[in-house]
């Protein structure tokens, strides 16, 4: 096991794909946030993102590949790591030396994956159906209403809130951890940890706020 099959190469792969997804998350958050302030701006950006060929046919496939890669690699690593200790401890005090988030990344990851399935059913599949299956005429003003309509359902809002809470837990360990994985642990680490901590709380909390905001205004 050397080169790209080595344990360290897998670590890099997890970290880099995770950082890529964080960048995507940020742009998704910024776009969603515009919906709180302006229906027009949200519609305009959504129309652009949904119809720009570069976004649709280059960035979107890259993103889907990134998501699948991160999840697949996560599962592979988890299976391999479990195999490294066939017999566990009768008593293990994990809380004495590590955070709950760091020990349960697979749990938070599976929750996020389940959420993504729901999210795709809610938004992505209908969108693909609208544009590429039924090929309906494009209405640049439909996005805001479609989104608000989804958040009328309180069960969906609760599901989203829970999912974003798990996203927060996942980011609280994963974001700063990815810098360590790619070899960044130096005088800037304290600053990086502060930034990743703030990001990991603010962005998922922001998503939660947006979901609740539209539910209450629906």
């Amino acid at each position: 096991m050397s080169g790209i099959n080595s344990s360290l190469a897998r670590k890099y792969a997890m970290a880099l794909s995770g950082l890529f997804l964080v960048v995507f998350l940020l742009q998704h958050f910024i776009i969603n946030l515009t919906s709180v302030f302006s229906e027009e701006v949200f519609n305009e950006i959504s129309h652009f993102m949904g119809n720009n060929p570069l976004v649709q046919f280059v960035l979107q496939p890259v993103l889907i590949f990134g998501v699948l890669f991160h999840f697949m690699m996560g599962f592979i690593l988890d299976i391999k790591n479990r195999k490294a200790r066939s017999q566990g401890y009768a008593q293990n005090n994990g809380a004495a030396n590590s955070s709950w988030m760091s020990r349960n990344m697979i749990l938070s990851g599976i929750t996020i994956l389940s959420f993504l399935v729901l999210h795709f059913i809610d938004f992505w599949f209908p969108e693909m159906n609208y544009k590429y299956v039924q090929i309906l005429p494009e209405d640049p003003n439909r996005y805001f209403e479609e989104m608000v309509h989804k958040f009328e359902n309180v069960i969906r809002v609760i599901t989203y809130v829970i999912s974003f809470f798990f996203l927060m837990l996942h980011l609280l360990h994963g974001f700063s951890s990815s810098f360590q994985s790619v070899g960044l642990n130096n005088k800037y680490t304290r600053g990086i940890k502060g930034f990743t901590l703030a990001f990991s709380i603010v962005v998922p909390a922001g998503f939660i706020f947006i979901a609740i905001f539209h539910h209450l205004n629906a």
């Binding site: 080595s6 344990s7 200790r85 360590q180 994985s181």
Partner: protein, 248 residues
Amino acid sequence: MNLTLKIWRQANATSKGEMVTYPIENVSPDMSFLEMMDVLNEQLINKGIDPIAFDHDCREGICGMCSMYINGEAHGPDRLVTTCQLHMRKFKDGETITIEPFRANAFPVVKDLAVDRSAFDRIQHAGGFVSVNTSGNTQDANNIPINKHDADKAFDAATCIGCGACVASCKNASAMLFVSAKVSQYALLPQGKVEATDRVLNMVKQMDEEGFGNCTNTGACEVECPKGISLENIARMNREYLFATVKG
């Protein structure tokens, strides 16, 4: 102090082990944990029971031989000490103490609490050294100026005693703290730079072949390490490995 000890008993590497409970009375709080184990073994021998096998050597916290997973932590609940430096005053009278061997497939149990940590030796053999001509022409190490910052960091890494607490504590049984300490202690010094590329590639390759898990940066190893080896070393190893892979 009167204590109840729940100890892993396993006759040999192939037999199935189990937790066995032993009461022990009149334990002095000033005893080290291993002295308490000695007393228990003496009592077991007097009763005609096979004594509990456990690794130990210097009993000064520097050899890295003692192990034991005590109450769910490698080397017990105290920080920056090995089991031999752990004292019974850290426990309460009447407490039940669970004692298990370090668990990892790469550290198979030999008997009871003794595990085979020769995987670490094989990793060292793969690159944890500098090739030095010892035919009489050896240069005095002090002839090479090294800045204090690097020398201190290299020394900190070199304090790793290879006890395996990092592997035992890691939820993935990863050996990256150990390997990174051994990579770092040379990577930071000019003497080690000559073989730096081969060293990190070969040591990581051997580590993977031994069946250790992958690092997920939980930081448990750093907390439980009796020598306080920093996660900074793992980041350094990751950088070294990347550069070495690119360099070929």
